[in-house]
Amino acid sequence: MIHCELRICVGCRMCEVACSSFHFGSVTRAMSRIRVAKLESVGLEMAIACLSCLEKPCLECPTTALSVGDKGEIILDEDLCTSCQICVDACPVGAIGFYDHLPLYCDLCDGATSCVTACPSGALSYIEDHRDSSLVSFLQTDGNPNQKRANYVSVQGEPIREEWKDGLRVDS
């Protein structure tokens, strides 16, 4: 999975540019499998790709178009996909995009992890041997994928904002 360190992410979206460019040879956010949620009024931003969660609610695909690969990544069988977007809505952190009638999953660029390479701040890393983390507390999150990403970052960012309040600064 692609991990983003919220404390370090600067919100530049170079990961989105790299992802979009790698998969489509073009650039637009909608083509990216990793998306930066920006909570500008509270100074938080974080890139979110598939977190390879324990629950994997996206797998409840009615046509069984989805399966899990050996690196924990979700694999889409395009022939089976009916573009119903149930998986898109099921993801508790809004990590699944949708473009040109197909859901967009992080496929780890077949090992190239182009977003990690592009990340200028070092916030992104590829965690190969991770233990599936639970997103159970986010399963009931309301809203569309963009709102769910924002919600996830907002929750993750609470301790960081507490640190700021307590006086933690970039040079301290």
């Binding site: 650039v27 637009t28 956010r29 920006k38 963009n146 600064r169």
Partner: protein
């Protein structure tokens, strides 16, 4: 000869009509399209705050592409502050989104009779009611729109109370704090009762020659990382400048009364990082990510950049950095240009110091140097046009007329646009840029930063004149400013961040820009073609300004910089012969003196 064109949205606010059209055929994006549109379509002599003004918002073919730093939109109209060409660029994330929605320019004509906002979702374009947003500041407006439209990823460019109240130096901001700050474009938007522009886009930017384009993008990334400025820009952003200007002896302390500021170490970039910066922030697709998020006991937000940092500390004689950061955040929220606002306050404090204005005359506000009361209250009063704020909202040139001749002598503006936070006398290329450029007193039109390097070989290569490498020489500045001006137009057309293209010395030239256009468009574009278009647009802007009444004698600096030397510090005694440099520049442009 057409290099590139894009779809232009025509929004008639009087009749609520939206049509698609094409950008002008003789530009290269951004500012070139806007300036040509205004020249062709704006009726001369109109009221900048009346319905006949035209507000253009442009991006360019490279915006939202893989090329680093192509994150700006340019807002242009006749300026309510200067009465000549107004334009200003904003970085952030709005511009690429507009490009991805499929539009490279929006041209607003007429004026709405009710508050409205423009909603763009790819091909869906609508004017919608904005009455519920009136009075909200820029942050509130942005968050409200993202909430009610159920999309926190929506890009919003908005005006605050200052724009609504037609403050002549109000801004259009996206991403809460990335502003098209100069020349009052927010007031033009406000005069049209247009509160915000909201964009969501999903169309790709695709290079016609992907291999060539990708190669250029990778080279550009590398050039930036190898540039001498990279580390400091990355760490401090523009706030690194304060120490550099202090060393050069061109700090505008106490409104240009001294180049020395005793509390420099309390307010410089290092202090800002230590005391208030909680994280780094970036604009779209940038490996420098030079911006900062700050947290104070008063408020929080993105910024300040150098201009706000210095404008609310050194220039106003204020050693309290936390206060200045808070003021910067407030000014952003209210929708005011931090440069003009800082200059208004500092000028007023100097007037008070000289006994020209009393605290009583401004409603019993303490106007002593560094006054916390003045710094906290005046921006609010200006944005809402309360009390003395109503007069100060007109800008220093107009406000000074009310206070008389002595107050007018203390202003630091050219053509009505307030100057930056540096003393032009000790950076002569910048002085000339302030005197002659097409939007009035401003350094960012194109930074003649080669003069700060002392690198004669570089100066020779780019301008043909070795003297251009030295900031204290008046020789060679005509060619230098002409070159920097071309670089500015080029950057404003590529929508490239000028902190990269113009401040990171020689990180890009016309040859490299031509390579970027060539890869994206899939055909050979020559550096010379780009140069000629920039020359043409420079001429268009000059003619536009002359049509609006600009006189050659307006190409000058305030007498306080010409008649008196820098009083102290490392550049003590430096004077400036601005007329000589202007003549030199005119010669370069092929213009007559009269």
């Amino acid at each position: 000869m057409s290099i590139c064109r894009g779809t232009s949205l025509r929004v008639d606010l009087t009749y609520g009509k939206v049509e698609k059209s094409q950008t002008p055929d003789n530009g290269i994006g951004g500012r070139t399209w806007n300036s040509i549109t205004l020249m062709n379509e704006l009726k001369p002599g109109i009221d900048p705050l009346g319905p006949e003004n035209i507000l253009c918002i442009a991006v360019g073919p490279l915006t939202g592409s893989e090329l680093i730093g192509t994150c700006r939109f340019i807002a242009s109209a006749k300026s309510p502050l200067t009465g000549i060409l107004g334009d200003s660029g904003a970085r952030g994330f709005f511009a690429p989104e507009l490009r991805w929605a499929g539009y490279q320019q929006i041209v607003f004509t007429g004026a709405s009779d009710r508050w409205t906002y423009l909603f763009i979702d790819d091909d869906k374009v609508e004017l919608r009611d904005a009455s519920h947003l009136v009075g909200l500041d820029i942050t509130e407006t942005t968050v409200q729109l993202q909430d009610e439209l159920h999309d926190p990823d929506l890009q919003v460019a908005a005006i605050g109370p200052a724009g609504e109240n037609l403050v002549r130096y109000s801004i259009i901001s996206c991403n809460l704090a990335r502003a098209a700050g100069r020349t009052g474009m927010g007031a033009v938007m406000g005069s049209k009762k247009l509160k915000a522009i909201v964009v969501r886009g999903s169309k790709p930017v695709t290079a016609v020659d992907p291999k060539r384009f990708k190669n250029t993008c990778e080279q550009f990334k590398q050039r930036i990382e190898e540039n001498d400025e990279f580390e400091d820009r990355h760490k401090f952003g523009t706030t690194k400048i304060m120490d550099e200007l202090a060393e050069m002896g061109v700090l505008p302390a106490y409104h240009y009364r001294t180049a020395l500021f005793d509390d420099l170490k309390k307010v410089n970039g290092t202090a800002l990082r230590r005391e208030h910066v909680v994280k780094a922030k970036s604009c779209y697709n940038c490996n420098i990510y030079c911006s900062r998020y700050t947290y104070t006991k008063y408020n929080e937000g993105e910024g300040p950049e150098y201009e706000a940092q210095a404008g609310f500390t050194v220039k106003c004689g204020n050693p309290d950095l936390e206060l200045a950061v808070a003021v910067s955040n407030t000014v952003n929220r209210l929708g005011l240009d931090c440069i003009s606002m800082g200059e208004v306050i500092a000028w007023l404090m100097e007037c008070r110091h000289e006994g020209i204005v009393s605290d009583a005359e401004v409603g019993d506000i303490d106007l002593s140097w560094g006054s916390k009361e003045a710094l906290l209250r005046l921006p609010e009063m200006v944005a809402h046009r309360e009390g003395i704020g109503d007069l100060l909202a007109e800008g220093t040139k107009r406000a000074a007329k009310q206070f008389g001749e002595e107050a007018q002598k203390l202003t630091a503006e050219v053509k009505g646009l307030e100057l930056f936070s540096a003393d032009p006398r000790g950076i002569k290329g910048y002085a000339l840029m302030n005197a002659v450029n097409s939007r009035g007193g401003d350094h960012y039109r194109g930074e003649p930063s080669i003069e700060l390097t002392g690198d004669e070989e570089l100066a020779l290569k780019r301008t043909g004149n070795r003297d251009a490498a030295h900031r204290l020489k008046e020789e060679g500045k005509g060619v230098l400013v002409n070159y920097a001006e071309h670089m500015g137009i080029l950057s404003d057309s590529m929508t490239l961040c000028k902190n990269i293209s113009c401040c990171m010395v020689d990180v890009i030239g016309f040859d490299f820009a031509a390579e970027a256009y060539s890869g994206l468009l899939g055909r050979d574009i020559k550096a010379q073609q780009l140069w000629e278009i920039c020359s043409y647009v420079s001429q268009v802007e000059r003619e536009f300004n002359i049509r609006e009444g600009l006189q050659p004698e307006d190409d000058t600096l305030p007498a306080r910089f010409v008649d008196y030397p820098i009083p102290d510090g490392p550049a003590k005694g430096t004077t400036i012969d601005i007329d000589r440099m202007v003549k030199d520049y005119y010669k370069e442009k092929g213009w007559k003196n009269n």
